[in-house]
């Protein structure tokens, strides 16, 4: 079952934003709703942004109102340096619980759940296997709060899988992500003049490039792939090898005994090494990435290539620092661009996103016809075309469902109602009717003051 109406949690995280952007160019996806407690940080064309609290308590209403069939959860915090452990717990455990609650229930319309997790699930211990596969658990209970959270969130997802047989659940466990745009504790460490290491240890590391993360999320969103998948690029590197690829020396500055004390001293100096990363610096981790490859996914870069790409970026970065202004979400502008009937030229580009060249040409031809028809109507003094006995959109019958649906956002409420009657009287395309209903409910929701 392909995903048509997608909800992305964690829209303002790097991954949520990237995934929404990627899905926008897919014409099979009708609706993309993104929720988060902060405003999105990337420019989005047709994704609807809904602001929710950290705990995602009201998500169920959003899911039901928009008839979401696919939920992609990209919001898990897997790096304890990014936020306090209490906030991370709130987000990872309570947030996951509420998101799962929003997807469950006998009458739920959700048919697919994609959950972004981390290979921190496996931990880093002395008696680990060299390659964790998806069926393995960690040999010892977790010691760090973030790993406990990840385990707890995943077991909640596993429980949801067992109780909701109609939903396809995919868990993706990502290895350490590298890339020019993503900021993690590891990229910060690699940006130092030398790569710090624990004396006497050369851990094995596996990475995944940021583009492969987005592609993997997209891959499982567009297919029915139930199960757990490790997402890590080919090749497990030793940390000394990583330093060599980055063109930096490695500095075994951390003592093998009393490492915790040394790390807290370093934290005062401004170099934070979170506890889950410290375990990895000692024992490293490799995972078996073959199941996702067997499911048809092709990695764009190996671990080594991801490190080389990061190295190139870090050398170039100081020259580009004074680049473009970062994108800032402005609600009013977004509302105008999406809802106002006066938006025309920008609208075509917006609708054209993801359509093939022929489809764009067809769309332009139809809109030109629509405009000329309206001019003729206005000259005749018939007023708005919505009042015509036929469809509120000219040449409506010639349009396919994929072409109609992007147009709905620009129609007035009355037009939508008229169109609904027209459609249900003639072709009765269920996708179009559902899209009209969705547009209507959104229109109603935006006109009414938001519920407390």
């Amino acid at each position: 079952m392909p995903s048509r109406r997608v909800l992305i949690t964690g829209l303002s995280t790097y991954w949520g934003g990237r995934l929404a952007k990627a899905l926008e160019s897919d014409p099979r996806v009708e609706v993309i709703v993104g929720v988060d407690n902060e405003e999105p940080s990337v420019e989005l064309e047709r994704t609807e942004y809904v602001k929710v609290g950290t705990q995602h308590a009201l998500l169920r209403r959003v899911v039901q109102a928009a008839e979401i069939d696919t939920v992609v959860d990209t919001r898990l915090v897997i790096d304890s340096a990014t936020t306090s452990s209490r906030k991370a717990h709130e987000n990872n455990v309570i947030g996951t619980m509420n998101i799962l609650a929003a997807c469950s229930g006998a009458d739920s319309c959700v048919r697919k759940l994609v959950f972004k997790s981390s290979t921190h699930f496996y931990g880093s211990e002395q008696d680990d296997p060299a390659f964790f596969d998806e069926t393995m658990g960690r040999p010892h209970p977790p010691q760090t709060p973030i790993e406990r959270d990840i385990l707890e969130a995943e077991s909640a997802v596993a429980e949801f899988t067992d109780t909701s047989p109609r939903a396809t659940v995919t868990i993706l466990r990502f290895a350490n992500v590298l890339g020019p745009d993503v900021r993690t504790s590891h990229t910060r460490m690699f940006a130092l003049p030398a790569v710090p290491m624990i004396l006497g240890f050369d851990p094995r590391y596996q990475f995944v490039h940021e583009d492969d993360v987005v592609h993997a999320l997209e891959h499982v969103t567009q297919r029915a792939l139930p199960g757990v998948f490790n997402v890590a690029a080919d090749g497990v590197l030793a940390l000394s090898e990583v330093a060599g690829l980055l063109g930096k020396p490695y500095a075994p500055v951390l003592p093998p005994w009393g490492t915790g004390v040394a790390v807290s001293a370093l934290r005062r100096l401004g170099l934070g090494i979170p506890p889950e990363m410290l375990a990895q610096l000692r024992f490293g981790r490799g995972v078996d990435n073959r199941r996702l490859k067997a499911a048809g996914f092709v990695y764009g870069r190996t671990s080594r290539e991801a490190v080389i790409a990061l190295g190139e970026h870090m050398r170039l970065h100081p020259l580009l620092r004074s680049g473009a202004e970062p994108y800032r979400y402005e609600r009013e502008v977004e509302e105008f661009l999406r809802r106002s009937p006066n938006v025309r030229s920008g609208g075509v580009e917006e609708m054209a996103a993801g359509l093939s060249l022929e489809q764009v040409g067809e769309l332009r031809r139809l809109l030109a016809a629509y405009d000329s028809a309206r001019t003729v109507d206005e000259e005749r003094g018939d007023g708005e075309i919505g009042e015509q006995p036929t469809a509120p959109v000219q040449h409506y019958d010639a349009l396919t469902a994929a072409e109609v649906i992007p147009l709905l956002g620009s129609l007035e409420r009355d037009d939508l109602l008229a169109l609904r009657d027209y459609e249900s009287g003639r072709r009765e395309r269920r996708t179009v009717l559902a899209a009209i209903d969705g547009a209507l409910s959104r229109r109603d929701a935006s006109e009414r003051p938001p519920a407390a």
Partner: protein, 302 residues
């Protein structure tokens, strides 16, 4: 270098604590994924296991070469029993403070075999947690003795793996108990070979017991250093850490015995068969060891 006490090579450990996730989330678990192994990147000098061609090459040309050729004057029999292709599990007796037997077996395959292949030596997890060992051992071809590691090497990557089923019990044993095999673990190595459908090649090593005889175990020093064991040898610990390498020039004799193959792919689930095979492997090695020792005229000249 030993098979671990905590993690036997059986599949019992490969169980996730998260059973709920197993039931519906892991449907592809039994699929054959061998076609999806990562490709070799020619620009790299390390393998995914952390094995370094460079470090291994340097060691091989210097220390190992010297020990093999001039110090131990190793003599090899039955090298043709090591298969030229496909995975195989080599099982050997084990002894000595810092055991030279594993490196000598590896060197013998490199030197004498018509188609030399790298040998993966299983070591205890302990070494991954000890500074220094943790960096060096993977570079020269040692992997932790985890059932998943052994299975991947044997089944997926079709490599040679060497195990010492006696484990720590072998290296801890004193000079007076030489050439008397300890218990062979719990038969995990047989299960690993059966699951991977590869033959077991028993290996006998004579000479290692005399090369680094252990007179006593120093319990107090062991606790102080946090090491697995601290033996009293002719040169250790009074000559410092390098005394670990102070081998006596005993004559080494290595013998590779007839491989034992398994036809039934489900044999590993038969606990009785696993145990009896383990006993048989142990008996073969023991018998051959006694024969080799009885024919030996001199410990130093062979």
């Amino acid at each position: 270098m030993a098979e671990p006490v905590r993690t036997p090579l059986s599949s019992r450990e490969r169980r996730s604590p998260n059973r709920g996730a197993q039931s519906r989330l892991a449907v592809l678990a039994d699929e054959d994924l061998r076609n999806h192994l990562p490709a070799v990147e020619p620009a790299r000098t390390l393998t995914d296991w952390g094995r370094s061609e460079r470090v291994e090459g340097i060691m091989d040309r210097t220390l190992v070469e010297f020990l093999y050729r001039y110090w131990f004057r190793a003599e090899v029999e039955g090298i043709a029993n090591v298969p030229s292709a496909g995975g195989a599990l080599l099982v050997s007796n084990h002894s000595g403070a810092l055991p030279p037997d594993a490196t000598m077996i590896g060197k013998a395959i490199r030197e004498e075999h018509p188609r030399p292949r790298p040998l993966n030596i299983t070591v205890e997890h302990f070494f991954k947690g000890y500074p220094g060992f943790s960096t060096l051992l993977p570079k020269i071809g040692c992997v932790a003795a985890h059932p998943a590691n052994v299975h991947r090497l044997l089944y997926d990557e079709e490599q040679l793996v060497l195990v010492f089923p006696e484990g720590r019990k072998g290296t801890e044993k004193l000079y007076k108990d030489r050439y008397r095999l300890r218990r062979f673990g719990r038969g995990g190595f047989v299960e690993a070979a059966m699951r991977a459908r590869v033959p077991i090649v028993p290996v006998c090593v004579v000479g290692a017991e005399e090369a680094s005889p252990v007179f006593a175990q120093l319990g107090l020093l062991r606790r102080l250093t946090g090491l697995l064991y601290v033996p009293l040898t002719p040169t250790f610990p009074h000559l410092g850490p390098l005394g670990m390498l102070g081998y006596l020039p005993a004559k080494f004799k290595l013998r590779f015995l007839e491989p034992i193959s398994f036809d039934d792919p489900e044999a590993h689930s038969d606990k009785g068969l696993v145990q009896s095979t383990a006993h048989e492997v142990r008996a073969r090695i023991q018998e051959s060891l006694f024969e080799m020792v009885s024919k030996r005229e001199s410990v130093w000249l062979g």
